[in-house]
Symmetry: C2
Subunit: 230 residues, 2 copies
DNA sequence: TTACTTTGTGTTGATTTTACACAAATAGAG
DNA sequence: CTCTATTTGTGTAAAATCAACACAAAGTAA
């Protein structure tokens, strides 16, 4: 029978968005060679544990969160020495969450758990910088062809929130009128009849919500979400 | 230290295209419980072997081919019993090759290696049917936003070849004039000055070739390959 | 009441996409 | 040799989409 001496881990790149800033969740290690340094949440999987469960478990354990969106990003196993203790192959996951929904709480294993603005992430251990980079690209491109932005927002949001999210993450200006027109033309964002005022001044705005059911229906009819701007 | 009892394998979904048919490479097993049944090329990785090398090695060993295009597809590790001998997590790769470039030759491990038209693939072992399905989706969508079709064709091809490839794989009709116009507008397909006649009748056509260098240049200038039709 | 901020809305010109047909070059049949 | 069948090569016009752009309405703070 085959003999292998390789361990398998999962890691997660969790994105959060709040008030014009994109954040990534990192964990400060308590033990081991990398004690005190920051890494992505993750860890070894159990023998009888599906990969996806392992990620969800680690996120719960290390930071106390449950994400809105989770998908496999890619598997890092070309650099045989990415972990210098022994060979570890890591399956990286891409996740989205609304930071407001949770208070981060570091587990026993972790010294701390913290949101870092994407441009102020400290040097991470292992090859986790590469993972973040890849995940960031995925986020940017996916935002244009799948309605995943809503997983970063409250269930009900102002149109300006959605617009700012796109501006922030895609790092480009967007024409407010054209953006609203296009999003509404899809018919997957519904206007509630609530009107709220958030900031200190300015005209109150209507709240909107993402109609997931409608979106799923449209998918069956070959609908293609697609939002890009000059 | 962590103890795990999980093995890691790689598998490849290799697509080939010839004369209006899309093919997938499968291997007939010689040994083991699944002897005689068909599976995707692949196998266990070595302790000091990068994942990508493992795939290339297996493709060489089991079928005698080297592919034109290779990328990670995804990792299958949620079904703990996908292999009923013991737990195996498999990293699946997506590959493209021009079948003309190789004569398949089954290795010692394999009883046979064969191209199956995508619609006539026998029931494959393990969860390899799922892998093929996922890879097929990836192929279809990727064809529309990356110029990977060329990796399935000869270096020099008739415009009708390219067009038929798109029709075949995307399973839709394409307007010949609009297709040619759009492809040529990108400037990544160059017309050679060779004129050939392939079939038994009809006007001879010019040969074209994909200008990879030009494509890479354009990528730096934010060029986005994109070809879709009603 | 005035200044400031944010929401909400429509039109026009430019660009892109779609639909569509016939002539040129060749092979094969008669 | 001529007629038919087959494949390549090419342009235009209508329709749809995209891009650019400005001002009124509803609120707060001074």
């Amino acid at each position: 029978m085959i003999n292998q001496n390789i361990k398998i881990a999962v890691d997660a790149i969790v994105f959060g968005y709040e008030k014009g800033t994109l954040y990534v969740l990192a964990i400060q290690q308590r033990f081991g060679k990398l004690a005190d340094s920051w890494v992505l949440p993750g860890g070894f999987i159990l023998d009888d544990e599906p990969l996806i469960n392992a990620v969800e478990r680690e996120l719960k354990e290390e930071a106390g969160i449950a994400v809105n969106y989770l998908e496999q990003l890619g598997t890092f196993g070309d650099d045989v020495n990415r972990d210098d203790r022994f060979r570890v192959i890591s399956v990286a996951y891409f996740a989205l969450v609304n930071p407001k929904n949770f208070v981060l709480k570091a587990d026993t294993d972790a010294k701390d758990a913290k949101w870092f603005p994407i441009n102020e992430i400290p040097k991470l251990g292992f090859d986790h910088d590469d993972m973040v980079k890849l995940a960031h690209q995925r986020l940017k491109s996916k935002l244009t062809y799948q309605p995943i932005g809503f997983d970063l927002l409250d269930a009900e949001f102002l149109f300006s929130d959605l617009e700012n999210l796109y501006c922030t993450i895609l790092e480009q200006d967007i024409d407010r009128r054209n953006f609203r027109k296009k999003i509404l033309s899809f018919g997957i964002v519904k206007e509630t009849n609530k009107v709220v005022k958030i900031g200190a001044s300015g005209r109150p705005g209507k709240l909107f919500s993402f109609d997931k059911h409608k979106y799923n229906q449209l998918l069956k009819e070959n609908f293609q979400f697609d939002i890009r701007f000059a």
